[in-house]
Structure formats: C-alpha cells, structure tokens
Amino acid sequence: MDHLVMETPERTVMERMEQGTAPPPEAETPAACTFEVKNLSIWYGEKRAIDNVTLGVASNAVTAIIGPSGCGKSTFLRALNRMHELTPRTRMEGTVLLNGDDLYSSTTDPAIVRRRVGMIFQKSNPFPTMTIGENVVIGLRLNGVRNQKFLNERLEKSLRMAALWDEVKDDLHKPGTSLSGGQQQRLCIARALAVEPEVILMDEPCSALDPIATAKIEELIHELKAKYTIVTVTHNMQQAGRISDYTAFMYLGRLIEFGPTTKIFTNPTEKQTEDYITGRFG
C-alpha cells in the first residue's frame, strides 16, 4: 500500500481541468499533492484510532474517505486540521505536510492551521446570534479585517461560490439559523470559503440533508474543485462514487486501499474493499 507521490504523471491536474469535466485520473497516485500524510497514528487515551496511515491528497480534486462506522475516517479528517486535538487525551505520531509545511511542528499554531484548512461539519452550525452576513465574514473579522468594503466584497463572492447568493442576498441581516437545513450548510461552506483556505475538509456534509439539498451540495463540491482541494468523509458509497476523484477505504483505523475512485469501485485490489463496496459488510 505505498500510495505515495512518486513521479510526475503524464498529465497534470491542470491539463485535466482544461479538458472540462475531469476524467478519472489514470495514475494510481495523485498528481500534485496538497497533503502528504506519512505514517500517521492517533490514539484517544489507550485506544488507537488511526494506525500508520500514509497517503497523499491530490490538489484540486475530491478525495473521499469511506469505511464503516468507527473505522477512524472522521479522526483522520480531523487530523488534517488538528481538530482532533480538541478532544482530550489524544496523541499522534507521524507527519502531515500541507503544501510542504509540517502541520505538527512545535512552532505551528493550530489556529493558523485551521485558517488554512477550512472545515464543514455533519450538521450545519451557523452561529445563531449572528446574521447571515456576519456568519460569512466572521472568519475574516477574527483575522482582524475591518475594511467594510473588503468584507462586503468577500461576503458576496463567498456566497456566490457557495451558490447561496441569489437565495439570501435580500436577507443578509436575518439570522443564519432562519435558513433551511441545506441553505445553512451552504452558509457554512460560504463561511469557510470567506477566509480563502487552501483545503476544505467535509465531515459527512450531507448526512443531515434531504436528497434535493444533498444534490445541491454535491454539485457545489464539483464546482469548488476548480479552486480548492477537497477531502470528504462519507457513509454513502454512491455519493463517494459520484463526487470523488480518489477514494480511500479505511477499516479499523487502517488504510486498506487508496486510489482513483473508478478503480476502487470497479476493480479493487483488496478483498476487504470489494466486500465493503459490494455491501457484504459495514
């Protein structure tokens, strides 16, 4: 399972982008890597949640992490922006590089990591005491941006990117929680986009949404791929098949198989992957 970045593949991601809807990459390993995860292990107290995972996350692509409940996929995702450290008594080993920077070096501030790596959660979580507009720009405000013109521009840009602008442009002063579930989730995406992160992590972003709202988010993920690297955790294998370019299958904290989504879904190497994908367990 040495799915590390090794050589330059024949076609770069950019070339694929130019060809329109990116065809599934042929190379086994991602072209340019945003994240390089090496020998990552994570413990919650005595329990080992992630066991020696090594993988590279491709730039400007969607990487889906699938696996049965408790396989460590959420923990792995959270390790990519040090969110798992909010849980008490965690310990990690290994390295995570974000565009070459060690996220876990002793001089790295987790707050800075999280500004570079945005996150969307299972349930939408806009701040209920803030308006729609305030919710979007709060990240910039935390960064000390005070220029109202800049904030307004970024507000519109982020909401447009999250495909929410047309629905809320007249209601920016209303509370974020006045929106529907799907709209709230897109508001959270806009909030994450406003600080222009390098990567967006999504932890089962559609699990609390109805099929129509889910379809909208999936479409959005497809569009965001042009500008952002996206890592998403999903329970829903059809969804992983629809939205992702690469798929990682995890089981009991281990990375069982990682590769282009088409390969994982049509011709998996490992027996366990095949069993999971065909619904024989999980």
């Binding site: 969110m83 909010l86 707050a111 990591v113 999280r114 979580n125 960064n143 929680t177 994450a192």
Partner: protein, 327 residues
C-alpha cells in the same frame, strides 16, 4: 386440572385488564403532582397575605411615606424604610458587580480552558463555598476581611478614586462596600455553578465551528460559547440577584447597621433583611412590630418584582429572537 383452571382464570383477568386498563394510577398521579405544584403557589400567596395583614395598621398610618422617608425612630414611632431599601439595592448591586464577572469567568475557565484533572476538584471547592454557614462567613468578615480591607484595598481605592463621592470620607471598616463584598462571596457559588451548567450545554458543534475558522480559545469562547449562552447567563445573574437581596446574616455582621443614605461606600448602611433580623426581638410596641412586618412586605415585594422583571426581560429577548427566526 386445578392449575390449568387457575391459569385460565388469570388469562381471562389479564385480558379483561388489557381491554379496559384502569386509569386510576394515572389520574391519582396527575392530581398529586398538581396539588404539589399548587401548594407552592398557595404558600407564596399566604406569605404575602400574612405580611400584609401583619402590617396593615402601619400601611394605613404611614401610607406611601413609609417607602420614601428616612426616619427610623421606634421611640417616636416614626418609621421610614428608604435607607433600608437603598441599602438592600446598593449592596446587592455591588455584589453583582463583583460576583457576575468573577462567576462567569470562572465558569468559562472550568468549561473551556481548565485542564481536565483540575475541573472536578475546582467545581467541588466552589460548591463547598455555598455550604459555609452564613454566620461563619460573617465572623470571618468581621475578624479577617474587614481589618484587611481597612488596611490595604480601601486606602488604595481612596487614593485612586477618592475624588468621586463613592470612595470619599473616613474609612471605618464596617460599611456598605464590605456588605456588598460579603454578599458577592455568598452568591458567587450559585452564579458560577449555574453559569457552568449553561456553558456546558452549548453544543460542541458551535465550538468546532469557531475553532474550524481558526479561532483562538478566547475567540471561540466569545463568539461561539458566551454569545450562544447569553440568555442563560442572564438567568444565572438574576438567580444570584435574588439571593443577594435576601442575604441576611453575613451582611448584618459587616455592613455597619446604620440607617442612612450616603453616597460614600465607606459609610455604614443597613439592609431590609438586616433590620428585620436585628430588631424583631426588641419590637415592643405594636406599631414597631407592624413597621417591621411592612419591611418584610417590602423585601418580599422587591424580590418578586425583580424576578418578574427578569422573566419579562427574558421573554422579550426570547420573542425577538423567535420572530427573527421565522423564515
């Protein structure tokens, strides 16, 4: 045969019971709980009524003047409660000014920042503070707190803020400020533990939203936790205020017990609760007793009024946010 017959009989009775289950238990339970709930209301009304009856002659004699005059002369049977009302309100306000920031900050430390191993012991210690009998705290106030306050913080306050009327004049020791401080100590545990429960009830998803944007601990506490919990924290403050208004023993021991209205917080004061505790045994004449009953009625009224106002305020906050939440 006999066994079979008894089983068959049992089966019939079970069937009968299931067909028309008795609602007696349900009904009894409903009435019982209703009676309990009503008992509380009845008790409050009875107390108010009793105070009213006990002070009816005084109310008739002094009327509204009782609330706005300052003479308290039992010998001449002149009774005005204004200094006591003033003392109660001011000492409670001082207590809130000290205890609210301290209590909420402590609660935020306990839920957001403190290392896990320190949370439980610290919480228990704070709750233990509530278990100290009021009279012990009063003794501590007289023999430890007041001499210390008189020697160090009070002169310092006077040097810094002596130019304002609040910190001018001679420093005796027992005074309004000392009373407020001792009440602050007494209401700190309730404000802290209620605030802590409220902050703990803030969903982790809110914290994660803030941390996910790169918020620091303080920023996450401010934008995700404290602002989410605003309403509940206000409730904690009101609960503390309720306690502060009625606090008796410890205050009586340190406030100086002089019925006067003075701007300087270094001057002694008197509270409604303190005058009741001090003078009930010496109330020899009927009118004196009547006046003290009326003091009780005023204190009762103030506490109820404060609670009503608080609930009204909470409801307006709730309805405005509810109407805002309508799609």
């Amino acid at each position: 045969m006999a066994v079979a017959a008894s089983i068959a009989g049992e089966e019939r009775s079970v069937q009968a019971r299931m067909a028309s289950p008795s609602r007696f238990g349900d009904k009894a339970f409903e009435w019982l709980t209703l009676a309990m709930a009503l008992a509380v209301v009845v008790l409050i009304i009875l107390i108010g009524w009793q105070l009213w009856i006990g002070s009816s002659v005084a109310i008739k004699k002094f009327g509204f003047h009782f609330l706005v005059t300052s003479t308290w002369d039992p010998v001449a049977e002149q009774f005005g409660a204004l200094p006591f009302i003033y003392g109660t309100l001011v000492s409670s306000l001082i207590a809130l000014l000290i205890a609210v920031p301290l209590g909420i900050a402590t609660a935020a430390y306990l839920t957001e920042l403190a290392p896990l191993w320190i949370r439980q012991p610290l919480t228990s210690l704070i709750e233990m503070l509530a278990a100290i009998p009021s009279v012990i705290l009063g003794l501590w106030g007289i023999f430890v707190m007041i001499p210390w306050l008189r020697d160090y913080p009070f002169p310092w306050l006077k040097r810094l803020f002596g130019w304002t009327p609040f910190f001018s004049g001679p420093i005796y020791g027992p005074c309004m400020l000392a009373g407020g401080i001792i009440i602050a100590v007494m209401i700190l545990p309730i404000i802290t533990s209620v605030s802590r429960e409220i902050l703990r009830s803030v969903p982790d998803l809110q914290r994660e939203a803030a941390y996910g944007l790169g918020a620091t601990r303080w920023e996450a506490t401010r934008i995700a936790v404290l602002s989410y919990a605003k309403k509940g924290l206000f409730g904690a403050v009101i609960l503390g205020l309720g306690r502060a208004l009625g606090e008796t023993m410890a205050v009586t021991m340190v406030i100086g017990n002089t019925p006067q209205i003075a701007a300087s917080l270094f001057k002694p004061g008197y509270t409604l609760a303190s005058v009741l505790a001090n003078e009930f045994t010496e109330a020899t004449t009927d009118m004196y007793l009547q006046a003290l009953f009326e003091i009780g009625l005023v204190l009762f009224g103030i506490t109820i009024l404060v609670n009503l106002l608080a609930q009204l305020l909470l409801r307006t906050i709730a309805t405005t946010s509810a109407t805002r939440a309508v799609q």
